[in-house]
């Protein structure tokens, strides 16, 4: 039996989009959404939902699209997910819901993410009808305003709690605001979905560093329970000579300047960013792709340097494809061993070629340097995107909070830390993962926080 092809996502032409920060994926029209939804077989026992970390009733929302009942479809998603406009854009659907779609084996799974985004974009600016339980006046706190905390906050608010979110930066959203670029996740969307959360009665306090402005112990006096969703915020460095030269930035700094501080609009905005001509991005995850594509839009010729091969690149396939369409070069099996500079500024990355050896404990083939293969890549900017690690502030100010040797917070099966009433979830517990996994953790923690408070 022949299956119809997926309706392709309309996108900005690569030649045009590297000159702007507008969204790359333009979203389905009603007609495209109806066509794509019509491919859904409405399986009696749907498998797609098993692939969703927050358990969205995918079959039902697609059925509503098939019937043209977009509002009902939107609220079907919102039963489980308060942020469909964001997750519709940034979830790795190809390894989650779409991978478990029964059509996945044909290579043409239903484009669930695109349909989710379609409904969100279609409905989110209309007056919202979210049913919440009667306000119980019990105050709870969520620390951090990234995906994990936002999800916990939304579900706790729906249960009637008085939720207070605490954010260290001047704008909420965590990685959604400072990390993921405008062209992949417009800040208008982020702000709107967070505003809808405020409409549920959630209070957002910015400029508050929990651990500095208030300690966890102080907050526990005012809040019946709290959720720590502070993410994996601190950047990792390569630890090679020359890494502190001018022109070398962590991906976090580069993206914070551009996304959060709007440095791409300098001098209209006051935060500056150097526009590199030859930029080397080290790493091959989604953050590396975001940094590379951002540098490209700032006018650079960009080369991604990665120590393993294409098969091991951790970024989503779609992100790698988009990067290549935009003319970003990939220099694989290559690893920086030093940076060389002149007058304090980086001028070249000294790299060594690698080959793949036996698999490591995680099953990925270990890269081994090839002796004598050193060579230089001339560059005037380097962006280091090799991952992040938990921020030490919370642990420093709360020495009795149990963390692993890597600094991740230890929780029990109910997402509770060793401090009663203090729960945690998302990257701060698991290490770097995806937006939707953090949302899932926040939602589960909210259930146990509710149980904890009602039992207490």
């Amino acid at each position: 039996m022949a299956f119809k092809d997926r309706v392709p996502m309309p996108e900005q032409d690569p030649r045009l989009r590297i000159t702007n920060f507008d969204e790359v994926a333009l979203g389905y029209t009603e007609e495209q959404a109806l066509t794509e939804a019509s491919r859904c077989l409405q399986c009696p026992n749907p498998t797609c939902v098993e692939g969703c970390p927050v358990g969205i009733d995918i079959k039902s929302f697609i059925a509503f699209i098939q019937q043209g009942k977009f509002t009902q479809g939107y609220y079907k998603i919102k039963e489980k997910n308060n942020f469909p406009a964001m997750t519709g854009r940034v979830c790795p659907q190809e390894t989650q819901c779409e991978a478990s779609c029964v059509l996945a084996k044909t290579g043409k799974p239903i484009a669930i993410g695109r349909l989710e985004r379609f409904l969100a974009d279609h409905e989110m600016y209309k007056p919202q009808q979210i049913e919440t339980e009667k306000k119980n006046g019990i105050p709870v706190a969520c620390v951090g305003t990234g995906p994990a905390s936002l999800a916990a906050a939304g579900d706790l608010a729906k249960k009637g709690y008085e939720v207070h979110l605490f954010e260290a930066l001047h704008l909420p959203g965590g990685v959604l605001s400072y990390g993921i670029p405008e062209f992949r996740l417009p800040k208008k969307i982020v702000n709107h979905e967070i505003m809808l959360l405020s409409d549920l009665g959630v209070f957002i306090h910015t400029d508050v560093i929990v651990g500095k402005t208030y300690t966890i112990r102080q907050l526990l006096k005012d809040f019946k329970a709290m959720f720590l969703g502070t993410g994996a915020g601190a950047p990792l460095l390569l630890g090679v000579p020359g890494e502190n030269l001018n022109g070398i930035l962590t991906a976090n700094e580069f993206l914070i300047r551009v996304n959060l501080m709007k440095a791409y609009r300098f001098p209209e905005f006051d935060t500056p960013i150097k526009r590199g001509k030859e930029v080397v991005v080290v790493g091959a995850g989604n953050v590396a792709m975001d940094a590379a594509r951002t540098a490209r839009r700032l006018g650079a010729n960009v080369t991604i340097v990665y120590r393993r091969s294409r098969a091991e690149m951790p970024a989503r396939a779609e992100e790698i494809e988009h990067a290549e369409e935009e003319g970003i070069h990939m220099k694989l099996l290559t690893n920086p061993i030093a940076f060389r500079g002149k007058d304090g500024w980086v001028r070249a990355a000294e790299v060594i070629s690698m080959k793949l050896g036996n698999p490591d404990e995680r099953g990925r083939r270990r890269p081994i340097p090839i002796e004598g293969s050193n060579h230089k890549i001339p560059c005037d900017q380097v962006i280091v995107a090799i991952g992040t690690t938990p921020n030490p502030i919370l642990k420093h100010s709360t020495p009795d909070l149990l963390v692993t040797s890597h600094g991740n917070i230890v929780v029990d099966e109910h997402y509770q830390t060793n401090i009663p009433g203090v729960f945690a979830g998302g990257d701060i517990v698991t290490g770097s993962a995806t937006v939707i996994e953090a949302l899932g953790a926040g939602k589960k923690a909210a259930i146990y926080m509710d149980e904890f408070i009602r039992g207490a």
Binding site: T206, V208, L237, N246, E253, I256, D270, T271
Partner: protein, 273 residues
């Protein structure tokens, strides 16, 4: 938004402003600082907390770039977009013994709270206060009150001894056994002090003024080579061991955005004309 409650010009282009921020005032400890975003399209800059009371923090800053110029132009009653903090490592409550506090220029604003703290912890303090000229000598009274001895140096000799703080430091170190030197001021001055004390192996702390963005340990803008490793000024500092700081990479880092700073300033001046 944070209300500017009061402002005082304490020297040419140097302001002390009083900002209402009770939560920061309560949490503040010596060594801490704040990150200020002057307006919605502004940049996040680290500024010194000079003092606090129940409801307010007192920030001292010098007008150098667009952001500090804008802050200097704000009027009493105006609202500052964002003030985050306190951040930075608190200074340890420890009795070191004989401490020499070397403060240069507007660094005196940071020296006052640290000096008060060290004094309260039972340390005996000699303060060397340096400035370009008499008009730029800051907080003389405040520093005198916590010091056993206060030495003032000016580059032009218009007040105190003519010369550099390092000249005075040499004399102090040769006259008296010293357990700790703390240098606060321009990076070149802090480097000179560290170079001077390195052969003596007297513990020397410097209060770094790195360029920052987040101020919470996320971005790494303020990183500095430190012995065999790299640390972040915002959460590992601002007080760091001057003998471990890699000054050769730190000094160029401080000038990284010189061109952009100049452009911002000139555009601002054009607008106000």
């Amino acid at each position: 938004m944070y209300e500017l409650v009061d402002k005082e010009l304490i020297a040419p282009e140097i302001w002390k402003i009083k900002v209402r921020a009770p939560h920061i005032a309560k949490a503040y400890k010596p060594g801490n600082f704040v990150i200020v975003l002057p307006h919605e399209r502004g940049e996040r800059i680290p500024l010194t907390v000079f003092d606090t009371d129940e409801e307010n923090i007192y920030i001292v800053f010098q007008e150098v770039g667009k952001s500090t110029r804008l802050l200097g132009k704000m009027n009493v009653g105006d609202q500052i977009q964002d003030v985050m903090g306190p951040t930075g490592h608190e200074f340890p409550s420890q009795k070191f013994g004989n401490v020499v506090l070397v403060a240069g220029g507007v660094g005196a604003a940071t020296a006052v709270p640290l000096g008060r703290h060290l004094h309260a912890c039972g340390n005996k303090i000699t303060t060397i206060l340096g400035a370009r000229n008499k008009g730029l000598v800051l907080f003389e009274k405040e520093l005198e009150s916590i010091s056993e001895k206060l030495i003032i140096t000016t580059d032009d000799g218009s007040y105190g001894t003519k010369g550099l703080v390092t000249d005075a430091l040499k004399e102090v170190l040769s006259a008296k056994s010293t357990d700790l030197v703390i240098a606060i001021g321009p990076a070149r001055m802090m480097k000179a002090v560290s170079d001077l004390t390195k052969p003596t192996s007297i513990k020397t702390l410097v209060s770094l003024n790195s360029i920052m963005v987040c101020g919470t340990g996320m971005c790494g803008a303020c990183r500095v080579g430190y012995g065999e490793t790299t640390v972040l000024t915002c959460i590992d500092g601002p007080e760091l061991d001057g003998h471990l700081v890699d000054w050769d990479t730190l000094l160029p880092r401080l000038n990284m955005y010189k061109e952009e700073e100049t452009l911002s300033l000139s555009l601002m001046e054009k607008e106000s004309r």
